[in-house]
């Protein structure tokens, strides 16, 4: 017999109070500002992108992870050398599930390799630059890559190794592009700082390196898509079907050349606003490429995004083609939607992941009739919660000030406005918004609990108090939640499933979630003798 979960309806304020109750006063005060209940009159602000309190078991990772793992990880033909002791390089080796499809069996694909300088104590004492140089030479000798990148880990910054100087020297010596990232783990307060550092360096050292015209009528870049579980393949399929040319992606299934030619696209579309908006902003300033926020998570969202791209180009041929594609793709989606709906309708979810996924995946749950009770980001900023209009009000604290903001100017020869004033006015009239992102909170129901930088204690408490039907986060959270009998979906790795993007992805997601919320696995929790402990031996034999 299934264990019936008691659905206690606890109001949001009471939950918040419970979450804070056990904390020392100082911790409670800070956490109170990071736990926000939506829809409260006169209060729309959440505290985010602030330090995690020491001793609190956070979900967050570090700057190196954000830089090497997230942004550069999915690019297959750059040799990425981690300069540091062995661990950092080891843990970021193939663990992020970025898939890649090299065009042929001989084309460069370095993703299955981990390169590290494996620093030893003598390197820490005497400096590791020589070793790093030697490592670059050895990597070049064996792999002959077209480009190489160097990533600094915690000790490197402290001992003062100049990774950029080594990169410059190697670039000159080897005649290939070599660039470095000062992405030491202690910088910033989360992975987010690493995204920013990665954006800066890729923009400075790679974007615009190759001035080749990419053929195509409607040329876009897809920014902030990392090809977890094959998402990029599905997005590529859809765009191709629509006749839209993808010049580059940052950085799912990408290559060095894509980055180098990204400045030739006519539109930047931004998926994960948090991790990549910097590059979009810089490309606009330098090359005149406007950007829009899109989202390929959710079938409706995908359709809406395609329409928006078509509207931007304003060409009837494209607009019609997009409609055709949507019309072709949707029946399969709705068929599965109809099938799962009776099973998923009214069920509840919680999502704590990333800097945009906790928002995007609410689309998919909505499409299944499921309600998101509580959500939050691991490393989002206020604008990801409240919308970009708050950016001017965000206080820049010491941790953020440490991350360089590049001064970008118009490129003297290559800046080219993509739209005339008249075209822009027309788009504005149609209600077309550039650089718009409203964030997660305005789209959530009133009385939802939004929690920034959720920690293990709060996660377990939330599940205990609100008993969602499914909880979504990462690998570190997975098994404690499941021990409580609540299915847990990893939204970093997709539990090795996917793709979940686009139309086919939506179908996969519906099916996976239905499987999880209707699974019989959880019903075996009680043994028969626990269900009916009172039977005595004599009674049985009578």
């Amino acid at each position: 017999m299934a264990v019936e979960k008691k659905k206690k309806v606890m109001n949001a304020d009471a939950v918040k109070e419970e979450l804070l109750k056990k904390y020392p006063p100082k911790v409670a005060r800070k956490r109170a500002k990071q736990i926000h209940i939506t829809g409260e009159e006169g209060n729309s602000e959440i505290m985010a992108n602030v330090r995690t309190i020491p001793g609190i078991i956070t979900m967050r990772g570090c700057t190196y992870a954000g830089c090497k793992g997230v942004i550069l990880g999915p690019t297959r033909d750059i040799v990425n050398i981690t300069h540091g002791p062995i661990g950092c390089g080891f843990y970021s080796w193939l663990t992020r599930r970025n898939q890649t499809k090299a065009p042929s069996a001989t084309s460069d694909n370095f993703m299955p390799y981990a390169f590290s300088t494996d620093m030893q104590d003598e390197d820490i004492i005497f400096g590791g630059e020589k070793k790093l140089e030697q490592a670059c030479l050895e990597a070049y000798e064996i792999f002959k890559p077209g480009a190489m990148a160097i990533f600094a880990t915690c000790p490197v910054g402290l001992i003062g190794d100049d990774v950029h100087a080594v990169a410059r020297k190697m670039k000159e010596k080897l005649g290939i592009n070599v660039f470095a990232f000062s992405c030491e783990g202690y910088k910033g307060v989360s992975q987010s700082a690493g995204h920013h550092i990665a954006n800066n360096q890729i923009f400075t050292h790679v974007v615009g390196e190759k001035d080749v015209e990419i053929p195509g009528e409607y040329k876009i870049n897809v920014l902030g898509e990392y090809n977890i579980g094959g998402d990029a393949f599905e997005i590529e399929r859809i765009l191709e079907k629509c006749g839209i040319t993808m010049v580059s992606t940052f950085s799912g299934n990408s290559t060095y050349d894509q980055f180098a030619t990204a400045h030739t696209a006519d539109l930047n579309t931004v998926m994960c606003h948090r991790s990549i908006n910097y590059v979009a902003e810089m490309m606009e300033t330098k090359y005149g490429i406007p950007w829009i926020k899109i989202n390929f998570i959710g079938a409706e969202a995908t359709a809406k995004s395609l329409r928006k791209i078509a509207q931007y180009f304003g060409d009837k041929k494209l607009i019609d083609r997009v409609e055709e594609v949507i019309a072709e793709e949707m029946p399969a989606v709705t068929a599965v939607q109809d099938e799962v709906f009776p099973h998923t309708k009214g069920k509840t979810a919680m999502l704590f992941v990333g800097g945009s996924r906790a928002h995007h995946y609410q689309e998919l749950f909505n499409e299944m009739g499921m309600k998101t009770l509580s959500a939050g980001y691991e490393f989002g900023h206020r604008d990801d919660y409240e919308g970009r209009h708050v950016i001017p009000d965000i206080k820049v604290d010491a941790d953020s000030r440490n991350i360089e903001e590049l001064e970008i100017e118009q490129d003297p020869t290559r800046f080219k406005p993509r739209k005339t004033e008249a075209e822009l006015a027309k788009l504005a009239e149609e209600g077309f918004g550039f650089k718009e992102y409203e964030g997660m909170m305005p789209e959530m129901d009133s009385q939802s609990i939004v929690i920034d930088d959720l920690n293990q204690y709060e996660a377990d408490k939330l599940v205990e108090l609100m008993k969602p039907d499914i909880f979504c986060a990462g690998i570190k959270e997975k098994f404690s939640i499941q021990k409580m009998g609540v299915p847990m979906k990893q939204l970093h790795s997709y539990d090795y499933g996917g793709p979940y993007a686009g139309f086919k992805g939506a179908i996969n997601f519906y099916q996976d979630i239905k499987r999880m919320v209707t699974s019989k696995v959880w019903s075996g929790m009680k043994a028969p003798w626990e269900e009916n402990p009172e039977l005595s031996a004599t009674y049985v034999w009578e």
Binding site: I53, G87, T106, L158, G185, S190, D460
Partner: protein
């Protein structure tokens, strides 16, 4: 080919590690800490290390792995992490209420020179450590040794921090099992109990990292070595340290501090190493080996004999940690297999010597490297092909490219269950290993056999 860029030609590298066969100290320290009852490991550094280590252990065990971090920012990295750690200790005891916090350092706190002794002392003096609660610690710089060293350092830190001598012997034997699976620790306990020797095992992750699903999440399950037992290790008759790399340091510390004598043995993997373990147990415990143990031993031997023809002369490539590899190499040699290429990422010339010594008895010299990497192992395989590959999950890329039968063994195993629940130590563990090896070899034989020689019975 996924590892398409790996050339057959081997060039000596002095600076670049490619596809490491080791990872860093703290993850081992974290694992050791989890084997103490009611313990929350704590990573003193920036939060990324802790996130990585927790993820690595979680992916391997498929169990919750809790650990806290000092969450260094740039300021802490410049001015020292004392304030962060003291605050962390206070928060942890208030929010999570463990009995013990096991603090380890990271590259960051080591490089800036934080002194754990002094910081923990300060926390103690400021009353941040509640009465009856403990903080143990170990220095685990990742630019020295490997994850194995970190495990060893944390076990040593735990005994030096907690063990006491009351002057009255407890008539028990301390057993330090080394970094083996929870299932292995369980098996070592079972064997020891069968031989009838009272013992204290430290650490003990059985029941912690292979726990049941009950509908309730217990952050601190009732498993792991109780603090009272750890305290009592100073009163034990002696210590058996299983594995020079993983366990010897803690055993020697107990010896020098409390005059608890120690014996360092190989990990009990395979027939002979298990024999030595059981024999030592019997001698130090003054008991005799019961029939039930003889029975299991006989079963292993029986299986080895039954399938000997398939083991015989098969070449094997191995990668993993020194203590495991030494015992495993010996076991494979006992099966009349031929370990050809053996790599560990952990440093230690003694490792190379010991492996060579073992193979010399069979009259050949293998390729063996401490401080090696999996790229080198793959190149060795390309130069001299093998019949079987044994190592952690990362080996599957090599196995696929070279079309090799592959047995998962070691850390991390990220893609198959079982290792948490079924041992590879002791006689039973030997049977499990032999079963896996023969299974892989015969699956291959079945796959490749021409129709006319495809056999029903093997």
């Amino acid at each position: 080919m996924l590892l398409r860029h790996t050339p057959t030609e081997i060039k000596e590298r002095t600076a670049l590690n490619i596809n490491p066969a080791k990872t860093c100290q703290p993850v081992g320290a974290m694992y050791a800490g989890l084997g103490i009852q009611g313990c929350l490991p704590h990573s003193h550094g920036s939060q990324g290390c802790c996130a990585y280590h927790r993820s690595a252990l979680t992916r391997h065990y498929k169990e919750p792995v809790s650990a806290a971090t000092s969450s260094f920012t740039e300021g802490a990295s410049v001015f020292g992490g004392q304030a962060n750690l003291v605050q962390a200790i206070e928060n942890i005891f208030t929010v999570y209420e463990p009995d013990v916090i096991a603090v380890h350092t990271t590259c960051l706190s080591e490089t800036i020179g934080d002194d754990l002794n002094q910081i923990v002392d300060k926390a103690q003096k400021e009353g941040k450590i509640p009465a009856g609660k403990n903080v143990v610690f170990a220095s685990t710089p990742s630019y020295v040794g490997s994850h194995v060293t970190g495990f060893s350092n944390m076990v040593k830190g735990t005994v030096t921090g907690l063990a006491e001598s009351t002057g009255k012997k407890n008539h028990k034997v301390n057993i330090i099992p080394g970094w083996v699976e929870p299932s292995d620790m369980e098996e070592i306990k079972r064997l020891t109990a069968m031989v009838g020797v009272p013992f204290i095992m430290l650490p003990d992750t059985s029941g912690v990292l292979n726990g049941p699903m009950t509908g309730k999440y217990e952050m601190f399950p009732k498993a792991g070595t109780p603090v009272a037992d750890i305290k009592s290790t100073g009163d034990s008759m002696g210590t058996l340290a299983l594995g020079e790399w993983c366990s010897a340091d803690a055993a020697r510390a107990l010896d020098s501090k409390f005059k608890v004598p120690c014996r360092v043995l190989d990990m009990p993997i395979g027939l002979k190493a298990t024999d030595r373990f059981v024999d030592t147990l019997r001698i130090v415990g003054g008991t005799s080996v019961p029939e039930s143990v003889m029975f299991e031993r006989g079963q292993l031997l029986d299986m080895m004999a039954d399938y000997h023809q398939y083991f015989f002369d098969k070449k094997v490539a191995l990668v993993g940690d020194p203590d495991q590899l030494i015992a495993l190499t010996e076991f494979l040699l006992t099966l009349d297999m031929k370990p050809m290429h053996i790599v560990t990422g952990t440093p230690g010339k003694k490792f190379e010597d010991r492996i060579k010594e073992l193979c010399a008895e069979k009259g050949y010299e293998p390729n063996v490297r401490a401080k090696g990497d999996m790229f080198l192992l793959h190149q060795w395989i390309k130069n001299e092909p093998v019949d079987l590959l044994m190592g952690n999950t990362y080996c599957k890329y090599i196995a696929r490219d070279e079309d090799l039968p592959f047995v998962r063994f070691g850390f991390p195993i990220l893609d198959r269950p079982g290792h948490q629940y079924f041992p590879s130590v002791g006689y039973k563990g030997g049977m499990r290993l032999a079963e896996k090896i023969v299974g892989q070899l015969l699956d291959r034989k079945d796959r490749d056999a021409p129709e006319e020689t495809f056999e029903l019975v093997l």
